[in-house]
C-alpha cells in the first residue's frame, strides 16, 4: 500500500517541465586571464606563452616536449615567499650511450639554484625551495635549464636536452 500511495503522491509533485534560456555567458575568445603564471604543464593549450627559447614547438603524446641544450622559461608570481621550484622531466636511457652522464644546471633570474647530475635514464621530479629574494612579483621570472651535453638525434641531427613535462613554482 505504501508504495502505491507514494507513487500517486510523487506523481503530484510539481517540477518544471520546460525552461527559458539562461543568462548567456560571455563567449570565451582568448586564453586564460593570466596566461603566464607560476607553473606550466606541457599539455596545456597555451603552454608556449611560458617559453622564451629552447623548447620544442611540438607537444609529444600530448604531455611532453623536448628541450634544447639551453631552455629558458618565464613565470609570473603573485608572491615570493615559501615557494619551491619544481620540475617533472625525463632523460631517455638510450641517449646515455651517445652522450654519457648528463648535468643540468637550473638557474632562476640568473642565479644558480642547483646543478643535477644523472648517470642513468628515467623519470625524475626535482623540487627545491626558491630563495624569496631571487624572485619578483613586478616582472617575469626567468628560469634557465642548461644541459651540459646535448643528445644529437640520429634522424634529423637536432641537438636535444631533456624531456620536460612541467615546471614552475609551487607552494
Amino acid at each position: 500500500m505504501v508504495p502505491v500511495v507514494c507513487l500517486w503522491l510523487a506523481g503530484c509533485a510539481s517540477l518544471p517541465d520546460t525552461y527559458a534560456p539562461p543568462m548567456q555567458r560571455r563567449p570565451v575568445t582568448g586564453p586564460e586571464p593570466n596566461p603566464v603564471d607560476h607553473y606550466v604543464t606541457m599539455s596545456e593549450a597555451d603552454a608556449d606563452v611560458h617559453f622564451v627559447s629552447g623548447i620544442s614547438d611540438t607537444t609529444e603524446a600530448a604531455t611532453w616536449r623536448w628541450t634544447g641544450p639551453r631552455a629558458e622559461l618565464i613565470f609570473r608570481l603573485t608572491t615570493t615567499g615559501h615557494l619551491r621550484f619544481a620540475m617533472d622531466f625525463a632523460i631517455p636511457e638510450m641517449t646515455f650511450k651517445q652522450r654519457g652522464p648528463v648535468a643540468i644546471s637550473i638557474s632562476i633570474n640568473g642565479r644558480l639554484l642547483d646543478k643535477l647530475r644523472y648517470e642513468k635514464g628515467g623519470q625524475f621530479h626535482f623540487e627545491k625551495p626558491a630563495p624569496f629574494d631571487w624572485l619578483r612579483t613586478d616582472a617575469y621570472n626567468f628560469v634557465t635549464l642548461e644541459i651540459d651535453k646535448p643528445w644529437v638525434s640520429p634522424d634529423d641531427g637536432a641537438r636535444l636536452g631533456i624531456i620536460l613535462t612541467s615546471a614552475g613554482f609551487v607552494q
Partner: protein
C-alpha cells in the same frame, strides 16, 4: 563539569528516556513479560517512540538541548511516578553456575573494552562524516532543513534521531554510547530469548559469539547504526516468537512499531517489516484464524514509524525512497546513473578479487570488506544442524531473510543483522556437546581480543585496537587525540579556521562534516555536486571539452520546434550537449526569452546546453537509450536552416537525428546525417569553471592529494582563480576568488 560528565549524562538520559517511554507504552498495553525481558523490550520499543518524538521536534524546529533535556527528565519523572521502573514480571529460568560465570566474565570484559572505545572521541569513517555530520547540522538548525546536496540526508535516520538527543548534551561520544547501549542490549536479549525458550547454554554461547565478534564490537562502539539495527531485528523476532505462543493481540502493537522502526532505522531493515507481516499472516492462516485484523494492526503501527520518513523525502525531494528508485521517481537531486553505479560499487568492493574471497575476508582478513567477524564464523555452516530444532528453524528462517540485504552491500558490517541468528543456530548445534560449546566461546573470545586479532587479521582491518581509558575519560583531551589519530579532524579545524561561516565547500572525497560547521558538498553525494564536479573536471579532461561539432543543415523552413534525438542504446556512454545553436543563414539566432527548452531525461539541466559556456553541458546522466532528446520551442514560427551541436568526445556511441515541428503538424525528421567537425580546444576553461561553480554558491574547494587534478589545482591555482588557504593531512583548501 568535566566533559566526561556531559558525555555520560547525554547517553544515559537518552537511554533512560527511551526506557521510560517503552515502559510506559508496554504498561499502557498491559503486556506482561519476564523481569529481564521488560527492560530489554522497554529500551527497544521506547527507542522507537523517542526516535519518533525527536523527529517531530526536529520537524517543528525545536530540536535543541533546552527542549530535549527538560522533556527527557519529565518523561523519566512521569515513568518513575507511574511506577514503571518497578518490575512486575517473574524472573526467567536461572542459568547454571558455570554458564552464568562464563557469560558474565566474557560479557563483562568485552563490555569494558566497548564502553571505553565508545566513550573515546568519535572518529569512525562514517560516524565522523555523515552519521553525526547530519546530526550536528540538525542541532545547529534546531531541526530538519531541506538538504538536496547530501544523499545520506535522504536515508531514514531513526537511530540518528536518538543520537541527536544525546548529541545535544554530550556531543559525539554521547551518540556513540547510545549505540553502545544497543550493542550491550543485543546479547542480553539473545540470552533472554534462549532462556525463555529453553536452550540456556546455547543462548549463552550464541549471545557471546555475537557480542565478542570484532566487527560487531567495532561497529557498536561507534556512531554507526548497524548493531542497533541488528538489535531491533532480533527483538522484533523475539516478540514475534512470544506472540506466536501467547497470541496476545496487544503485543502486535509494539511488534508493528518495531517493524516500522526497522525501516526508520535503515532502509534495508524493511526486511523486518516483511518478516513480521509474513510471520503473523502465516501463523494466523495455519491456525485457521482471520489474518486481516492482526496484519492491519502490525501494518498501521509500522506506518506510524515509516510515514514520517517517506513523507519528508516526498515533500522535499519528490522521491519517497531517495536516494534509491530514481527511475521510478525521477528527480533533480540524485542521478539515475549514480544510483546504478553506487549499487554496483556496493556489490563489488575494490580489492576483492572474486566473491569466493568473501568468507575469508569477512571472518579473518577484514581490510577489503571493512571488518571481520572472527574465525569462528568460518564454522557458520554448522548452524544448519540447528534445523533439527524448532527454534533453530525459526532462527535460520529469520536470519536468512535478514541476510538478503547483504547481497546489496557486501561490506562485513552488513552481515551484522544476521549474525545473532547465525550465532544462536551455531550454538544450538554445538550445545549438544556442552564442553565443546564452552570451549568455542572461550576460543572465540580470545581470538576476538584486540591484541590477538591483530596477529591474524590484515594490518589495516577495521577493528578496535585497545582500551582507550585516558581518551575516554578525557585525561588526554579530545583535541589532542583526534589531532593525533583522526585523518579528518585536522581538516575540519582547517575548514573552521580558514573558511568563514556560511561557506559552501566542494570536495571530491569524504569530509569531516561532524566536526565542522561549514557546509561540505561531496561530489558524488548529489546530482548538484556531481554537476559541479563535472564542470571542474572539464578543463582537466580533454574528452569533456566541447570539441566535437555536429551540424544539421537543411533548406530554410518555418518551424515552431526543433529537437535533436539520440537513437543509440547501451552504456557506458552518457549523452551530453555543451551547446545547441540554431541558425538562420549565417546568423545564429539569439536565444530569446520566449524560447522554451526541454530535455529527456534529466530535464532540469537543459539550460546548460544553452548558456554559451564551454564548461557546462546538459548530460543525460543515464546510459544511452533511443528517444533521449534536447528540444527548443521557439514560442513562435521561426525560419531556420541549421542546427549545430557542440559536444564533448566522451560519448563515442551516440547517434543523432534532427526532428522538427512545422507550424501545423506532427514531429517529422529533418535533415539527414549531421556533418561532423573538430573544434579547437577552448581556452580559459579553468577560470570559466570556477566562475560557473561560484555562480552556484560554492565558495571553497577542498582537494585531497589523491583527488584527480589535485596537482593541477596546486600548480595552477592562480589560473583557476583560487587562493590557497592552507593544508592539513594532504588536503588543501582553496578559496574561489
Amino acid at each position: 563539569m568535566p566533559p566526561a560528565f556531559y558525555i555520560l549524562f547525554g547517553a544515559a538520559l537518552t537511554v533512560a528516556v527511551a526506557m521510560a517511554l517503552g515502559k510506559l507504552l508496554l504498561r499502557a498495553l498491559g503486556l506482561k513479560f519476564h523481569r529481564q525481558e521488560e527492560h530489554l523490550f522497554a529500551l527497544v520499543t521506547g527507542s522507537a517512540c523517542l526516535s519518533l518524538l525527536v523527529f517531530l521536534l526536529a520537524t517543528i524546529g525545536v530540536a535543541r538541548k533546552g527542549v530535549f533535556q527538560p522533556l527527557g527528565l519529565g518523561i523519566v519523572a512521569v515513568a518513575v511516578w507511574r511506577g514503571a521502573h518497578r518490575s512486575a514480571g517473574a524472573p526467567l529460568a536461572p542459568l547454571a553456575k558455570f554458564w552464568q560465570r562464563l557469560f558474565y566474565a566474557v560479557f563483562g570484559i568485552f563490555t569494558v573494552l566497548y564502553f571505553f572505545n565508545a566513550m573515546a572521541p568519535e572518529m569512525s569513517p562514517d560516524g565522523s562524516t555523515y552519521h553525526l555530520g547530519l546530526v550536528a547540522r540538525y542541532l545547529r538548525n534546531h531541526g530538519f532543513e531541506r538538504i538536496t546536496t547530501n544523499m545520506y540526508a535522504n536515508l531514514s535516520q531513526g537511530i540518528e534521531m536518538l543520537y541527536l538527543f544525546a548529541f545535544s548534551i554530550g556531543r559525539h561520544s554521547a551518540a556513540a554510547l547510545v549505540h553502545f547501549a544497543f550493542l550491550v542490549t543485543l546479547p542480553l536479549a539473545m540470552l533472554a530469548y534462549a532462556r525463555r525458550f529453553g536452550f540456556v547454554e546455547a543462548g549463552v554461547a550464541g549471545a557471546l559469539f555475537t557480542f565478542v565478534s570484532p566487527v560487531v564490537g567495532q561497529d557498536g562502539a561507534t556512531a554507526y547504526i548497524d548493531t542497533a539495527v541488528a538489535c531491533l531485528l532480533f527483538v522484533l523476532f523475539y516478540l514475534l516468537q512470544i506472540w506466536e505462543r501467547e497470541r496476545t493481540p496487544r503485543l502486535l502493537i509494539p511488534i508493528g512499531l518495531l517493524a516500522g522502526f526497522c525501516y526508520a532505522a535503515k532502509y534495508t531493515a524493511v526486511v523486518g517489516l516483511l518478516y513480521a507481516l509474513g510471520f503473523v499472516g502465516w501463523k494466523q492462516l495455519r491456525a485457521r484464524q482471520p489474518a486481516i485484523r492482526p496484519l492491519a494492526v502490525v501494518a498501521l503501527c509500522a506506518l506510524v514509524m515509516i510515514v514520517p520518513w517517506v513523507a519528508k523525502n516526498w515533500i522535499w525531494l519528490g522521491n519517497p525512497f531517495s536516494p534509491f528508485f530514481n527511475s521510478l521517481f525521477p528527480n533533480p537531486y540524485v542521478h539515475i546513473s549514480f544510483e546504478k553505479e553506487y549499487v554496483r560499487h556496493m556489490q563489488n568492493y575494490p580489492g576483492l578479487g572474486s566473491h569466493w574471497e568473501i568468507p575469508l575476508e569477512v571472518t579473518v582478513r577484514g581490510t577489503v570488506l571493512c571488518g571481520l567477524l572472527g574465525p569462528l564464523f568460518l564454522l557458520a555452516p554448522v548452524g544448519l544442524l540447528a534445523l533439527r530444532h524448532p527454534a533453530g528453524r525459526q532462527l535460520l528462517l529469520a536470519g536468512g531473510l535478514f541476510l538478503l540485504p547483504y547481497f546489496g552491500n557486501i561490506g562485513t558490517r552488513f552481515l551484522i543483522p544476521a549474525v545473532p541468528f547465525v550465532s544462536l543456530a551455531m550454538a544450538l548445534a554445538l550445545a549438544r556437546w556442552k564442553p565443546l560449546a564452552a570451549a568455542f566461546v572461550i576460543a572465540h573470545a580470545v581470538a576476538s581480543w584486540p591484541d590477538v586479532v591483530k596477529t591474524y587479521c590484515d594490518r589495516d582491518a577495521w577493528r578496535l585496537a585497545k582500551v582507550p581509558v585516558r581518551q575516554a575519560l578525557r585525561i588526554e583531551s579530545e583535541e589532542s587525540w583526534l589531532t593525533r589519530k583522526s585523518p579528518y579532524y585536522p581538516i575540519a579545524r582547517l575548514l573552521d579556521d580558514a573558511a568563514p561561516p556560511g561557506s559552501r565547500i566542494l570536495t571530491f572525497s569524504q569530509a569531516p562534516d561532524a566536526y565542522t560547521s561549514r557546509e561540505i558538498l561531496v561530489a558524488y553525494q548529489s546530482a548538484f555536486n556531481a554537476t559541479m564536479g563535472d564542470i571542474l573536471w572539464t578543463p582537466l579532461i580533454p574528452e569533456y571539452q566541447p570539441t566535437w561539432q555536429f551540424s544539421f543543415k537543411f533548406p530554410p523552413r518555418p518551424l515552431r520546434k526543433v529537437r535533436v534525438v539520440q537513437t543509440n542504446d547501451g552504456g557506458p556512454d552518457h549523452w551530453s550537449v555543451a551547446e545547441l545553436r540554431v541558425f538562420s543563414g549565417e546568423r545564429e539566432m539569439p536565444r530569446a526569452s520566449r524560447w522554451r527548452l526541454r530535455a529527456h531525461p534529466n530535464p532540469w539541466d537543459v539550460q546548460m546546453a544553452f548558456d554559451n559556456s564551454p564548461v557546462t553541458r546538459w548530460r543525460s546522466w543515464h546510459t544511452l537509450f533511443p528517444g533521449m532528446y534536447v528540444e527548443v520551442d521557439f514560442g513562435r514560427v521561426e525560419t531556420i536552416d541549421k542546427v549545430v551541436l557542440e559536444c564533448a568526445r566522451d560519448q563515442y556511441r551516440i547517434q543523432l537525428k534532427l526532428e522538427a515541428q512545422p507550424p501545423s503538424g506532427e514531429w517529422q525528421a529533418l535533415a539527414g546525417e549531421p556533418e561532423e567537425a573538430k573544434l579547437s580546444q577552448p581556452l580559459g576553461l579553468r577560470w570559466a569553471a570556477i566562475d560557473e561553480i561560484k555562480r552556484r554558491g560554492i565558495t571553497h574547494l577542498l582537494v585531497y592529494a589523491e583527488d584527480f587534478g589535485a596537482d593541477d589545482f596546486r600548480k595552477k591555482a592562480v589560473v583557476w582563480g583560487l587562493t590557497f588557504l592552507g593544508e592539513r593531512n594532504r588536503a588543501r583548501l582553496y578559496r574561489l576568488d
